[in-house]
């Protein structure tokens, strides 16, 4: 088992999927000869050839549409969009076609495509290149949304996404790409979709989030542990369809919940989780639900970026606020 970064783990999963299934194609801007802007598709062209690894022209709408067409014919296209800010141009195809093909054809056609894109801030890049735009896609029935929080989870979840018979938006936190290494066994084992992962158990407060901010949640849990508070860390992993049961079960024990995401607060996906807690979870709550998120602003340049990102300190403070109740 070799150590890998997230970007290497993605590359491994892509190669594995292409190896095991000839229907898997990789396409996008600079994914072939250049191996992708982040090198997530490095080596694929040499190994699988230009018939299966396509450098496309600069045209995001067409990249998404082409993938829908391929998928409708049984291929398993994995398209890369260079940064999430350019994925907004794919929303028309993803919403009106990819997500609805199964319904519209009453199950006669399906759309087993994956749209991969780096997401999130913390890489000193400005807007377009630091977007946490998941909520623009979470309100689209028929589209699955998956976000890994580590190299190992990236490998297993991407394999699952490619094998899944429906369209998946796969969001790769840019700031995790090279932030850490961990052992990744390239044995083709997928991780389950549609399930939260409990990364740390604890009975006092639940910290719920996804993607890069999971690292801050784990650090916050460590800090809280030093204060004698046992925090449970829940990596949501698949936003849609949401595994609300796992979150409700955890809050059933803790009675307290801090939801964390980098995206802006208003109508961020945390609001859906809060609504679940205010509905079926209401009687378990011992304290108001806390949300630690980006502010309702456009991601600025790095000198202000750190003020926008949810920090360990903000998560710890929210947990403490929550614990003061009851």
């Amino acid at each position: 088992m070799a150590d890998a970064t997230l970007v290497e783990a993605i590359d491994l999963a892509l190669a594995r999927a292409m190896q095991e299934d000839a229907r898997v194609l990789v396409l996008g801007e600079d994914v072939g000869r250049d191996g992708g802007v982040f090198r997530a598709t490095d080596g694929l062209l040499a190994r699988f050839g230009p018939g299966r690894v396509l450098d496309t022209p600069l045209a995001e709408g067409a990249i998404a549409g082409l993938s829908v067409g391929l998928a409708a014919q049984g291929f398993r296209p994995v398209a890369e969009i260079q940064f999430m800010g350019f994925a907004y141009a794919t929303i028309d195809q993803m919403l009106n076609h990819a997500a609805r093909l199964r319904t519209r054809t009453r199950g006669r056609l399906s759309c087993p495509m994956v749209l991969r894109t780096p997401c999130g801030g913390g890489v000193h890049a400005p807007e377009h290149h630091s977007e946490s735009g998941e909520a623009c896609f979470t309100n689209i029935p028929g589209l699955r949304i998956v976000v890994p929080s580590s190299p190992r989870r990236g490998y297993g979840l991407l394999l699952a996404a490619i094998r899944d018979p429906d369209p998946v938006l796969f969001l790769e936190p840019t700031r995790l790409y090279r932030a850490m290494r961990e052992p990744v066994s390239d044995d083709g084992t997928a991780l389950p979709l549609d399930q939260c992962a409990i990364l740390r158990e604890g009975g006092d407060v639940a910290l719920v989030g996804w993607g890069a901010v999971v690292r801050e949640m784990l650090a916050a849990a460590q800090q809280l542990a030093e204060e004698g508070v046992a925090a449970e860390v829940i990596d949501v992993a698949t936003l849609v369809p949401l595994d609300a049961a796992s979150i409700l079960a955890s809050v059933g024990t803790t009675g307290r919940c801090v939801i964390c995401h980098e995206a802006p607060l208003t109508a961020g996906f945390g609001a859906e989780i809060a609504a679940q807690l205010a509905g079926p979870g209401l009687l378990s709550l011992l304290a108001p639900v806390e949300r630690v998120t980006g502010w309702d602003v456009v991601m600025p340049l790095p000198r202000l970026e750190r003020h926008d990102m949810p920090s360990v300190a903000r998560i710890v403070a929210a947990a403490r606020r929550s614990l003061r109740h009851g």
């Binding site: 450098d55 022209p57 600069l58 067409a62 602003v297 600025p300 340049l301 000198r303 003020h307």
Partner: protein
């Protein structure tokens, strides 16, 4: 809409904007072109240095090699004409007369930058200079440019809008949508494809089936010409013809300006897609600034006169770099400004 067109008369072409039979640059124009290109070159070299020192966050796409494009174009424009471009925009801003210090301070993310240190390299604007950005979404500025041209048409003034975009951007759908619209409405729009042969790591022949980008507007009847973008005089001549065409109310015009960027796409470009020799050949045989220098020498401009320009440019760039390092960081409260008008 047809009615609006009838009631709005196009202004008369300006005297200085008509394409004369002999539209070569005068001695003074050569001096100005040289100075403006040199300013961009030295500015970009300095920006590259500051980036290397870790003073610039975000992205930084240098314009080195392409200076003749924007300088030749700008010299054919007049008061009130609009300019809009992509993220490779430092040269365009300097050419429109925006201050080097404000641009450099934006690169370093300081309060004194054109976007108060919140926008960075790709996102700066100047209403005074009619510079409408600096845009990071590749190709999107082309339809914005058509909209700016529409405003001129609607108001019946004689302004033109120049929209710059790259050979990679030229493949975006909305570029063709905008071409159609601009031709349908006969908008005073000059579309400039800065063909520097590569869109990031993909060469133009691997990215488009069009073998002649200057003909990309042909299906809509848009005139287009290919221009040597390493020769500021050639660019200027083509620009004058395009401007005259637009000001006369004849509709949009496409220029494919063939140019070359010497540096990487952005600062972290491994550059595997082209050879060192290719870059070296362009630099040594086609450099626009070297070309201008030779021309000035042939016109009898003295070494001392050229040295004076070099010194002036150097001083501007140094002052800009100093300002970009001494201007304060933006206050954290700036995070919440300019989202919506305060109610």
């Amino acid at each position: 809409m047809a009615q609006a067109a009838d009631t709005k008369k196009r202004g008369k072409p300006r005297a200085n904007a008509s394409a004369g039979a002999n539209s070569g640059l005068t001695r003074d124009e050569w001096l100005k072109a040289y100075r403006d290109m040199l300013l961009i070159r030295r500015f970009e070299e300095k920006a590259g240095q500051l980036y290397g020192m870790g003073l610039i966050g975000g992205f930084c796409h240098l314009y080195i090699g392409q200076e003749a494009v924007v300088v030749g174009m700008q010299m054919a424009l007049g008061e009130g004409d609009e300019v809009i471009t992509s993220y490779r925009d430092h040269g365009h801003m300097l050419a429109t007369g925006m201050e080097a210090r404000g641009v450099m301070a934006e690169l370093t993310g300081r309060a004194g930058g054109y976007s108060h240190g919140k926008g960075g390299s790709m996102h700066m604007f100047s209403k005074e200079k009619n510079f409408f950005g600096g845009h990071g979404i590749v190709g999107a500025q082309v339809s914005l440019g058509a909209g700016l041209a529409f405003s001129n048409w609607y108001r019946g003034n004689d302004r033109v809008c120049v929209t710059y975009f790259g050979d990679g951007a030229a493949n975006q759908g909305q570029v063709f949508e905008s071409f159609n619209l601009a031709n349908l409405m006969k908008l005073p729009a000059i579309f400039v494809i800065e063909n520097n042969k590569y869109g990031m790591g993909t060469s133009v022949d691997r990215a488009t089936a069009s073998r002649d980008l200057s003909r990309n507007g042909a299906p809509w009847g848009m005139p287009g010409v290919a221009v040597d973008g390493m020769d500021v005089e050639a660019v200027h001549e083509a620009a004058r013809a395009a401007v005259a065409h637009c000001r006369a109310g004849k509709g949009p015009y496409l220029l494919e300006i063939k140019t070359y960027r010497y540096r990487g796409h952005s600062m972290s470009d491994p550059g595997k897609y082209r050879t060192r020799e290719e870059i070296q050949k362009m630099r040594s045989e086609h450099d626009c600034i070297e070309g201008a220098r030779h021309r000035l020498e042939a016109l009898g401009v003295s070494e001392a006169e050229l040295k004076k320009i070099d010194d002036e440019v150097k001083a501007i760039v140094q002052e800009a770099a100093d300002f970009a390092q001494s201007s304060p960081e933006p206050d954290p409260s700036e995070l919440w400004t300019d989202i919506l008008v305060e109610g």
